[in-house]
């Protein structure tokens, strides 16, 4: 499903070259549930963005579903992201001027697929316990509720891969368990591949495969 070869990404910060991701090689099969743990600044988020085609590596390749992400042009890469991948970010990632439902449906606007999207969005919002907030705006929601909307949005395009960066960060214990159970269900039923970056040991423990990142180097735990 995902083949990563010798992936390296450096940043030049005030004249100093920082290697965020250092020669990472990784294979992830379809339907795998992978967690990546590591200290802050170890390069986890950068690795996730490289896997999702959000930033170009200095060297190395990312092949997903048979497509080398950096061999295709930007338009095709955008379409690929829209259809095959979705993200859960560690910050509030909702568009403030859109309602909850509009936020959930947003990927469908970019992908120009509309059939059944509204109904599916409502089902996803029910699944994350926000069916009563469909027409609310993000500013009317708590941080935890906003995170749940972002999680619902992550599934709207029935992605093959979910790349999640601290997905349960702002959630209370009970909601966290619900979200973990949703992830498990999607993984088991729909064969969605999960790659999750987390500090949460419980969430990391749910993963069948755990990796650790340290100074840009990725290792199996």
């Amino acid at each position: 499903m995902i083949e990563v070869r010798n992936l390296t990404k450096t940043y030049n910060i005030e004249g100093q070259v920082i290697t965020a991701v250092d020669n990472v090689t990784l294979d992830v099969s379809e339907g795998e549930f992978v967690s990546i743990v590591g200290h802050s600044g170890s390069g986890k988020t950068t690795l996730l963005s490289l896997l999702g085609g959000l930033t170009r590596p200095d060297s190395g390749t990312v092949v997903m579903d048979g497509v080398n992400l950096w061999d295709i042009d930007d338009n095709r890469l955008s379409e690929f992201r829209n259809k095959k991948i979705n993200f859960i970010f560690q910050f509030a990632s909702l568009i403030p001027t859109l309602t909850v439902k509009e936020n959930v449906c947003l990927p469908s606007v970019f992908g120009q697929y509309n059939a059944g999207v509204d109904e599916y969005a409502v089902r996803l919002l029910e699944m994350v316990g926000l069916s009563d907030k469909i027409n609310s705006y993000p500013s009317q929601l708590s941080g935890g509720q906003q995170r749940r909307v972002a999680i619902a949005r992550a599934f709207i395009n029935t992605p093959k891969v979910i790349l999640a960066d601290e997905p349960t960060g702002d959630l209370d214990e009970e909601t966290e368990k619900e979200i973990i159970s949703i992830f498990n269900r999607m993984n088991a039923d729909d064969k969605v591949t999960f790659i999750i970056v987390t500090h949460n040991t419980e969430l990391a423990g749910q993963a069948k495969r755990q990796l650790r990142m340290s100074n840009g180097v990725l290792k199996e735990v």
Partner: protein
């Protein structure tokens, strides 16, 4: 639209900037067009190449022509033959300008009375033949567009009743629009009868004329004929009608240069303001834009999103500017005419429509140019960079 409403005050200020530019541009252009339009029609209607008046009354004659300020000055009729005898003169015709008169029944403002000679006239007569297909005779008169009478009405002047047999199309020049035209002989008769019938006596004799209108031969310029007239006939001033118009055009040019300079500066400021504001907008929304890119939005989609917001804003500003400018010019038209002392006639509906469209399109182009760089720079950012820089 929701994005623009998010920062309401900023959006309003941005729109106001465009309103000022498009409104000023529209108003200045429409005023210029109106003056030019009136001058064009007025000079065509004047029909004379040179206007010969008593030497001391050159300024009064110019004011009468351009601003329609009623005036009266006289010279002896023999000037007509003297002018006719000047080399290069093709046709001459006399006119008499009569003291401002008011008719109390319905119109309090002063009107200007011009007596013309139907036998020799080459200025008013062709116009009358063309537009109302009649030449006044006896106690008949033709009135300018601004005089509130209709055909068939009777109006008293200096104790004599006159029948309105025609009204002329508007020219924007008060000399035509606020004037009553009557045959020269009728004017003399009115003056004579005023001694018996009127409270206010009109002191002119049938030997008095105010101006000689001159048509020059095709092989000589009006300027040269004017010089010859002034040389051959002492005590007269020969005003070349083209020079009157060109003087006005020069005055207008100076005025318009200042206005367009202000509009130009305002346009550059608006352009910079929109560019700065849109840079701020895209900076504030970098993370949002990065997110949209992560969800599958293409670079071109992001570019279109920012550009459409800029176009919407500047288009709205353009429409409001043209509306406000139009209302202001229409409302203060009389004040404008009085302060500019220039003729004024609205351009045709088609020209106004083109101008409206032009100002709105220019506003939209302004917004588009200003937002071009911010839209381009944010759309070409890598999604991850946009997300990180927006944090």
């Amino acid at each position: 639209m929701k994005n623009l409403r998010r920062r309401f005050v900023r959006t309003v200020l941005l729109v106001l900037g465009v309103v000022v530019v498009s409104g000023t541009l529209f108003s200045a252009t429409i005023v210029m067009q109106s003056i030019q339009n009136s001058l064009r029609i007025g000079t065509y209607r004047l029909g004379a190449d040179v206007l010969v008046v008593p030497e001391k009354y050159e300024a009064s004659a110019r004011n009468a022509l351009l601003a329609g300020e009623p005036t009266s000055f006289y010279m002896k009729k023999d000037a007509l033959d003297k002018v006719r005898a000047v080399d290069g003169v093709k046709n001459v015709s006399a006119q008499v300008f009569i003291q401002p008169a008011s008719f109390s029944c319905c119109y309090s403002a002063n009107v200007f009375i011009v007596g013309f000679d139907p036998r020799t006239d080459f200025t008013i007569k062709p116009w009358l033949e063309e537009s109302i297909k009649t030449i006044p005779e006896g106690n008949e008169i033709v009135t300018g567009r601004e005089i509130p009478v209709k055909v068939g009405d009777y109006i008293p002047f200096y104790g004599t009743e006159f029948k309105v047999v025609g009204t002329l199309e508007g020219t924007g020049m008060k000399f035509f629009d606020n004037t009553v035209f009557m045959p020269l002989e009728t004017a003399y008769r009115m003056a004579e009868q005023s001694r018996k019938k009127a409270r206010q006596v009109l002191n002119i004799s049938s030997d008095d004329i105010s101006a000689v209108l001159v048509q020059v031969k095709s092989d000589i310029t009006p300027d040269r004929v004017a010089i010859r007239i002034e040389h051959d006939i002492p005590g007269v001033k020969a005003i070349v009608s083209d020079q009157v118009i060109s003087t006005v055009r020069q005055q207008m040019f100076v005025l318009l240069r200042s206005i367009f300079l202000i509009v130009g500066v305002a346009w550059i400021m608006a352009l910079l303001m929109i560019a700065v504001v849109f840079s701020m907008i895209v900076n504030e929304r970098q993370r949002e834009i990065g997110l949209m890119r992560a969800m599958g939005a293409k670079k071109s989609g992001i570019f279109r999103l920012i550009m459409s917001e800029a176009i919407l804003l500047s288009g709205l500003g353009g429409i409001l500017g043209v509306t406000v400018g139009g209302i202001l010019v229409y409302s203060f038209k009389n004040l404008l005419i009085a302060s500019l002392k220039m003729p004024y006639l609205w351009p045709s509906s088609f020209k106004i429509a083109v101008l409206v469209l032009g100002c709105i399109v220019l506003s939209i182009i302004t917004g588009a140019i200003a937002a071009l760089y911010p839209a381009y720079s944010v759309s070409k950012m890598e999604p991850y960079d946009a997300i990180r820089k927006g944090e």
